[in-house]
């Protein structure tokens, strides 16, 4: 849901709400029309009668008009969800500071439709969001329940906190030699006060400022020791610490109380949903932290040189959501990671809070960021508690720091300008040179591109040629194959032909014909001819008979035909006179002629027609009209009668013509009408009456009608007459036609018969001629025939002879065939041989052609290969690169040229700027400070200070909160900065020391608790720190472990490596050559150049035992102090020697840390160094192991202190592996342990502790660094 999107919703009022609104506005309509819409934060309340219930918070900043009306106060309206809208149940106005926006509330922009029943229902996305909104109380209850487990930490701190200020009289103020402490003698303090005021602040009565903090009390001597604040140390130096008359001092627990209050407020803020990251409570309290997991990793360019682990850490922290945890063993570059992270966040435009439990750690982390331009650090906190490294970043110093830095940079530029000018000129020249070179290369590339393009074209062309050659080749192959095949075939054929030739030759010989046979055949032919003549004779005789018979028959036929014509001509003559049908019939009968079928049919028709005419049966039309006529006649007579009956002069009525009623049907209609008129009762009534005018009119009308009827009767008669006459005319016409047809028919018949007669006569003539010829032939042939010759014999003889002759002819044909075949065979052989020769020539030509093609192909392939090389080259790519490069160079040159052009201006301005900076006044610095603070992007402070009110107001939220040394802070302390971060990065090492409570460790504190149950509860809490639990349970995207340490010489690292073994993980040394990089350069009786790990063993004997100061609790060990004195003197001398021998610079100092598990020992070491040794070549620093966490030195001397024969075998603080880990991991070059190995490896009760120290002794021995006390050193 988009926060800026305005959503409409209905709002109804209960009476109560209305009344409450009435206190602030005329009514709700006025109130809610002040703004078009309202920014509302909705908190879900527990449901009321199953209705969702809400509180609406109207913030003044987001609702200016409303706020103006409500005096800038926050309005809270309670509502329930009803009828798809809201029903307000109450309206209150709270204070200006009432929180409006929390993680529990839904921020929306609403436009209210007040008291309107209608209107659209609630938008679905709003409804859904409201449904999903957790009930705020429940969420808070959840957090409250979970945070209970942290209560213990607060209880510890609160234990002494709840004490009122204590005022006491004092005397005998004594300031110590370093002006750091004031000791006073107090009177009037009660017993319980003595035990509580340690840690309290002290101030003179009537003063506003604390002198310092109570660090020690001695009830017996009634003395109170106060550690002075830096400011009062300076005052003390001026001798004006205690004004005359100052007699009373006030001890107050205010600072501690306010700290606890801040921690408590942290709890409350988390409960109320004020965390910058709404997900924080889930991250902290769910068994498995709920974080939004991302697999998208940012690609970063790193500012610092980082190893793989550090890169992983920075990338992971930048990419992760909600929370990222970095576990960093000693020396693995946690601070580098933090610096890089700040740098990356700065690039991303984000503001970062760097927080830590202690001021020292904050300053350490910030110190590393120094060199990073773009990062503006602001150190927030009480000035006097900030270390030297952090000082320049406090608000009052940032401006002068910035001024100094800027001035130095400007002056450096001014100094460098002359050389810079020269450099730029040279660089421009070299850039131009480079450009010319690139240009030349670009031209070359252009040439190559052209070449390549040509090559591509040629390649394509050559490929075409090659293809066609290949095709040619395969064609030639095919052709060669076919020629070979043909050759083979021809050879085979030739062979076959020669075989056939031989065979034919043989056959020919067999088939040849003799002369004898020829003669015989000629004879047979003669005989046949004779026989044929004989046969012909017989045939002519037969034909003569036949012809004579035919002539006779034809003659008879002709006679019959002429008879057939007979009377027909007469009939035709008479026909023309016939006028009637009967006459025609008579004529036929008279001439004994049968009329043809069509004639008789027509005659029948005519006959019927005549009968109709005679009967008056006319066609249908006439009949129709006849009916009309009859009706007219009837009508006329009826009308005439009627008129006559009434004495109307009928005779005078004349016919009258009219054009209406023409057809028969129409006339019927007319008649129907007249008929109806006659029978109409009215007509009848009028007629029945005596004569009246009416009757007269009627009669006239009747007469009129009659006249019409007359007219119509005439018409009908005319029509009937015309119909009758046309019918008669038709009958007459048909008769004439009939007569003509009969005539035509007859005439045709006569002509036909005459033609038949003529034809018969012709045939007879022909037959007679034939007969004559036959007779002639017969007489000629008769010579060959005598009476013994029979026709049958002749026929048989002919048949026989014909067969003989046919056989002979056949034989002759066969012979001819063979001869032909022989001839064909020889032709074929010649032709085949010729073909063979031709093919051979073809074949040779083909082979030649083929060889040529192969040659050509080889040439082409060679060329293509060459071209391919050109084509595969990429001059375009190179050209593009070149163009880019040229552009870059040009841009760079232009930039430089501009700089060069600007030089005179730059000189002028920089000179002036330098002067201004140097003369910057108070006001200038103040302005710069404001600017700096406004744009500060890395803010450093301690966890607890991050909750201070002014800080909260200046910086309510950070994009990222980085917390360093997390394991040293308690969860309530961590919570304070965590609340402010949208994203939180935790950096720490849970194998190092846990938090301190006041001046004691948690364990020490818990040890002192008398109540067993409480003791147990609190120790349970310590088993796993928050950091450790998060590191264990977070998904891998949200955590990492740094694995390469750069601080310690490898041998030193080996002593702590066992603490970090975890699965595959091993602590690695990142120094490429430990001996070279961590050479301490010292050489003495005790220390050799290659020693990095030494243990000066103390016997577990009374002379070397620990001791306790009277009245104190802490321990010291005189024997170890003596040993340390010797060692320090030795190191001091060795350093001096190293300087003399040139291994070290004359003003160089070795940093040496002398540390111990016990405060008293540290105090004595301090005195030893300051008062007795006063080293000139060493930079010594002392402190407890716990205080040294986070620090590193070239050389560390570690004093174990514990050495006794007590049955408990306790080694106290040294039992904790984490403390030992910190103690061992502070040295870069040389770690020197002073302590009793027997005490630590044999006396402790716990096997684990003994093993831990035994392993350490073993490692030292392995490196040859174990030194037992001999000779003069022994305190025997």
């Amino acid at each position: 849901m988009n926060k800026s999107e305005v959503m409409n919703c209905r709002l109804d009022m209960t009476q109560r709400a209305r009344k409450e609104i009435g206190n602030w506005a005329i009514d709700e309509n006025e109130l809610f029309s002040m703004q078009a819409n309202f920014s509302v934060y909705i908190e879900k309340l527990p449901a009321k009668q199953d209705n969702m219930a809400f509180s609406f918070y109207f913030g003044p900043e987001e609702n200016p008009q409303l706020a103006n009306h409500l005096n800038e106060r926050v309005a809270v309206m309670e509502c329930v969800y009803k009828n798809e809208g809201f029903l307000a149940t109450s309206f209150r106005v709270k204070g200006r500071k009432e929180p409006v926006r929390t993680n529990r509330r839904l921020g929306v922009r609403l436009a209210f439709a007040v008291n309107r029943r209608t209107g659209s229902p609630m938008p679905i996305q709003l409804y859904t969001s409201l449904r999903e909104l957790p009930i705020a109380q429940e969420r808070s209850a959840y957090v409250e329940k979970r945070i209970k487990s942290w209560e213990g930490y607060l209880q510890i701190e609160e234990k002494n906190a709840d004490v009122a200020d204590v005022t006491a009289h004092f005397s005998q103020p004594i300031i110590n030699e370093s002006f750091s402490q004031l000791t006073i003698s107090c009177s009037g303090l009660e017993a319980k006060d003595w035990s509580t005021i340690t840690g309290f602040s002290a101030k003179l009565k009537g003063s506003n400022e604390d002198l310092g903090t109570v660090v020690d009390v001695n009830r017996g001597r009634r003395s109170v020791k106060i550690e002075l604040s830096r400011k009062y140390q300076a005052v003390a130096r001026r001798g004006s610490l205690l004004p005359n008359g100052a007699r009373e001092i006030v001890f107050s627990n205010f600072a501690e109380l306010s700290q606890i209050r801040r921690l408590r407020k942290g709890f409350k803020d988390l409960q109320d949903g004020f965390a910058a990251n709404a997900n924080l409570e889930k991250v902290l309290f769910e068994e498995r932290p709920v974080v939004q997991i991302t697999n998208k990793r940012q690609e970063l360019e790193f500012h610092h040189p980082l190893n793989e682990f550090q890169r992983e850490a920075v990338t992971g922290a930048m990419s992760a959501h909600d929370l990222y945890v970095i576990q960093g063993p000693p020396g693995t570059g946690k601070t580098t990671v933090i610096s890089e992270l700040c740098h990356q966040l700065m690039l991303a435009g984000q503001r970062t809070l760097v927080a830590s439990q202690s001021n020292l750690a904050v300053d350490n982390a910030l110190g590393r960021l120094l060199s990073d331009p773009g990062i503006r650090i602001l150190r927030y906190g009480r000035t006097e508690s900030i270390e030297e490294e952090g000082k320049r970043f406090i608000e009052e110093n940032v401006a002068s720091y910035w001024r100094d830095e800027t001035l130095a940079a400007v002056n450096e530029q001014r100094e460098k300008r002359a050389t810079r000018e020269q450099e730029i000129a040279e660089e421009i020249e070299s850039l131009e040179e480079e450009k010319r070179r690139l240009k030349a290369e670009q031209d070359e590339m252009d040439r190559r591109i052209a070449e390549k393009q040509a090559a591509v074209t040629e390649n394509k062309d050559l490929h075409g040629q090659l293809d066609s050659l290949r095709k040619l080749q395969s064609e030639l192959d095919e052709r060669r194959d076919s020629i070979e095949q043909q050759l083979e075939e021809l050879a085979r054929m030739l062979e076959k032909l020669s075989i056939e030739k031989d065979k034919l030759q043989q056959e020919k010989e067999v088939a040849s014909i003799s002369q004898e046979l020829h003669d015989k055949m000629a004879e047979a032919e003669l005989e046949l001819s004779l026989n044929r003549k004989k046969l012909r004779y017989f045939q002519t005789v037969e034909a003569i008979d036949y012809a004579e018979m035919e002539i006779r028959k034809l003659t008879e036929e002709a006679a019959t035909n002429s008879l057939k014509v007979g009377s027909m001509p007469r009939f035709i003559e008479e026909l023309s006179d016939v006028r009637k049908l009967q006459e025609l019939e008579g004529l036929f009968a008279a001439h004994n002629i049968e009329p043809s079928l069509p004639t008789s049919l027509e005659m029948n028709t005519l006959r019927r027609l005549r009968v109709d005419i005679q009967n008056g049966t006319y066609p249908y039309a006439l009949l129709e009209w006849k009916e009309v006529e009859e009706r007219l006649t009837k009508g006329i007579s009826h009308a005439a009668n009627l008129l006559r009956k009434h004495h109307f002069a009928v005779e005078q009525v004349r016919s009258k013509q009219d054009d209406t009623y023409k057809t028969a049907e129409e006339m019927h209609d007319m008649l129907d009408k007249i008929g109806r008129f006659f029978v109409n009762p009215a007509t009848k009534r009028i007629l029945a009456a005596p004569a009246t005018a009416e009757k007269a009119t009627l009669l006239h009308r009747l007469a009129e009608n009659l006249a019409y009827l007359y007219g119509k009767a005439e018409d009908v008669q005319t029509i009937s007459a015309s119909i009758k006459s046309s019918s008669d005319r038709e009958a007459a016409g048909r008769f004439t036609t009939l007569k003509n047809e009969i005539k035509d028919e007859m005439t045709a018949h006569i002509r036909e018969v005459e033609e038949q007669v003529a034809a018969a006569e012709q045939t007879v003539k022909e037959h007679e001629e034939q007969l004559l010829e036959l007779k002639e032939e017969s007489s000629e042939l008769a010579v060959h025939v005598d009476e013994q010759v029979y026709r049958q014999d002749v026929e048989d003889e002919i048949e026989k002879l014909e067969k003989t002759l046919a056989d002979f002819e056949e034989r002759k044909g066969l012979f001819q065939q063979i001869e032909l075949a022989v001839e064909e065979n020889s032709t074929e052989s010649i032709r085949t041989s010729e073909q063979l020769a031709a093919l051979r020539t073809d074949q040779e030509a083909l082979l030649l052609e083929e060889a040529e093609a192969i040659d050509r192909m080889k040439q082409l392939e060679q060329r293509i290969l060459t071209l391919q090389e050109i084509i595969l080259s990429e001059p375009e790519k190179r050209k593009k690169e070149l163009i880019e490069e040229i552009d870059q160079k040009s841009a760079k040159a232009a930039e430089l040229q501009q700089e060069l052009d600007r030089m005179p201006v730059a000189r002028l301005l920089q000179d002036e700027w330098s002067e201004m900076l140097a003369g910057a006044g108070e006001f200038d610095l103040d302005e710069i400070r404001k600017l700096y603070v406004k744009h500060a992007n890395v803010i450093g402070t301690t966890c607890v200070a991050s909750a201070r009110r002014d800080f909260m107001e200046d910086y309510p939220e950070f994009d990222v909160v980085i917390i360093d040394e997390v394991s040293k802070a308690t969860p309530p302390e961590l919570l304070l900065p965590m609340l402010k971060g949208k994203k939180i990065v935790l950096v720490g090492d849970h194998h190092q020391l846990p938090p301190l409570v006041g001046r004691e460790t948690m364990e020490e504190f818990i040890e002192e608790i008398k109540d067993e149950a409480e003791k147990e509860e609190l120790s349970g809490m310590l088993k796993e720190s928050l950091f450790e639990r998060l590191f264990r349970t977070l998904p891998k995207q949200n955590k990492t472990m740094l694995g390469i340490q750069y601080r310690m010489h490898e041998e030193i690292m080996e002593t702590i490596a066992p603490f970090y073994v975890d699965g595959q993980y091993r602590l690695q040394c990142g120094l490429p050559d430990s001996d070279a990089a961590r050479d301490h350069l010292l050489s003495s009786a005790n220390i050799k150049r290659n020693d990095h790990l030494l243990w000066f063993d103390m016997p577990n004997e009374p002379a070397y035992f620990e001791a306790k100061v009277k009245g104190g609790t802490s321990l010291y060990n005189e024997a170890e102090l003596n040993r340390i004195r010797e060692l320090l003197v030795d190191i001091e001398e060795a350093t001096a020697l190293a300087k003399r021998e040139g291994r070290m610079q004359p003003n160089e100092k070795k940093s040496v840390g002398v540390i111990s598990f016990y405060g008293e020992q540290v105090k004595r070491i301090d005195r030893l160094i300051e008062q007795e040794i006063m080293p000139k070549h060493l930079h010594c620093r002392t402190g407890s192991v716990d205080k040294f966490q986070g620090m590193e030195m070239d050389i560390i001397i570690l004093s174990f202190v514990r050495n006794h024969h007590q049955p408990s075998g306790t080694i106290g603080f040294a039992e904790d592996y984490r403390r030992l880990n910190v103690a061992l991991s502070r040295a870069r070059e040389l770690l020197v342990i002073v302590g009793s190995s027997d005490m630590f490896t044999k006396r402790p009760k716990k096997a684990g502790t003994k093993a831990m120290y035994a392993r350490l002794v073993e490692q030292v021995k392995l490196k040859g660094g174990f030194r037992e006390l001999v000779g003069s050193g022994r305190n025997d």
């Binding site: 004594i174 001026r238 002028l908 700027w913 006044g921 108070e922 302005e927 600017l931 744009h935 006063m1174």
Partner: protein, 247 residues
């Protein structure tokens, strides 16, 4: 002097664990120097703003980066001030670069000075042993010179910044409403004389911790002088242990 010594001694010996080993009196040499300088009165215009106005008056700048590079000032700061100047109508953008408006020109003038520079002079005291100027009223001491005194410093070795710091100690500059008086330039310096400041040195032994230490009262600054104490302790503590505590 006697009274002072007694008061200081009593104070030191209030702690019963402290034993006085010896009291020594000597003089610390200081250089008395006269600085001549010019002051100017001008309106309150911070230097960064003034510098930007000067830059815009001098040349055309189109980007904050360019100015940022030249002045070695974060672009963010320049943007910030540019916006302020723009809002106040002191600059206007024309042709892609900023130029001063009439208002801007006038403001810049008054930001440089309201009245012409005035000459002034002050006397300062430099202690070579401290390596810095001391504030206070010197009285001329007698007797032995401080045994660890450093050589006097040649005036030519001082930078203007050091002179300005010395003047700062004297509070010669001031602000009033919209106007401030600032030191415009150091025109000349000359050494007037050499003086010696009387100092009282107490050599003490803190018996409870067996610590030896020195306390030196500087009569010019009227305080226990840490610098001198440290110099003495660093050089002589071992010697003292032998001299006073060897039995």
């Amino acid at each position: 002097m006697e009274a002072l010594e007694k008061r200081l001694r009593d104070e030191l010996l209030r702690d019963l664990n402290v034993k006085l080993l010896e009291t020594v009196k000597w003089s610390l040499p200081i250089q008395v120097i006269d600085i001549e300088y010019e002051t100017v009165k001008r309106t309150k215009m911070d230097i960064l703003m003034k510098m930007l106005l000067v830059a815009f008056r001098t040349s055309r700048f189109s980007s904050s980066e360019e100015l940022s590079d030249m002045l070695v000032v974060e672009p963010l700061f320049i943007e910030d001030i540019k916006e302020r100047l723009n809002r106040a109508g002191m600059i206007t953008k024309s042709g892609g670069a900023y130029a001063l408006t009439e208002t801007g020109r006038q403001q810049l003038e008054s930001g440089i000075y309201i009245q012409p520079p005035e000459k002034d002079e002050s006397t300062v005291h430099y202690s070579p042993s401290h390596g810095r100027f001391l504030a206070g009223e010197p009285t001329d001491g007698v007797g032995e010179m401080y045994r660890l005194a450093k050589d006097l410093r040649n005036l030519k070795e001082f930078t203007d910044d050091e002179w300005r710091e010395a003047l700062d100690l004297l509070d010669v500059t001031y602000q009033e409403g919209d106007v401030q008086l600032v030191v415009q330039a150091i025109t000349s310096v000359k050494e007037l004389e050499r003086q010696s400041i009387p100092c009282i040195e107490f050599r003490l032994h803190q018996t409870a911790d067996d610590r030896l230490y020195a306390r030196v009262w500087n009569t010019m600054t009227s305080e226990w002088d840490e610098t001198l104490e440290n110099q003495i302790m660093e050089n002589e503590l071992t010697e003292w242990r032998e001299k006073y505590l060897a039995e």
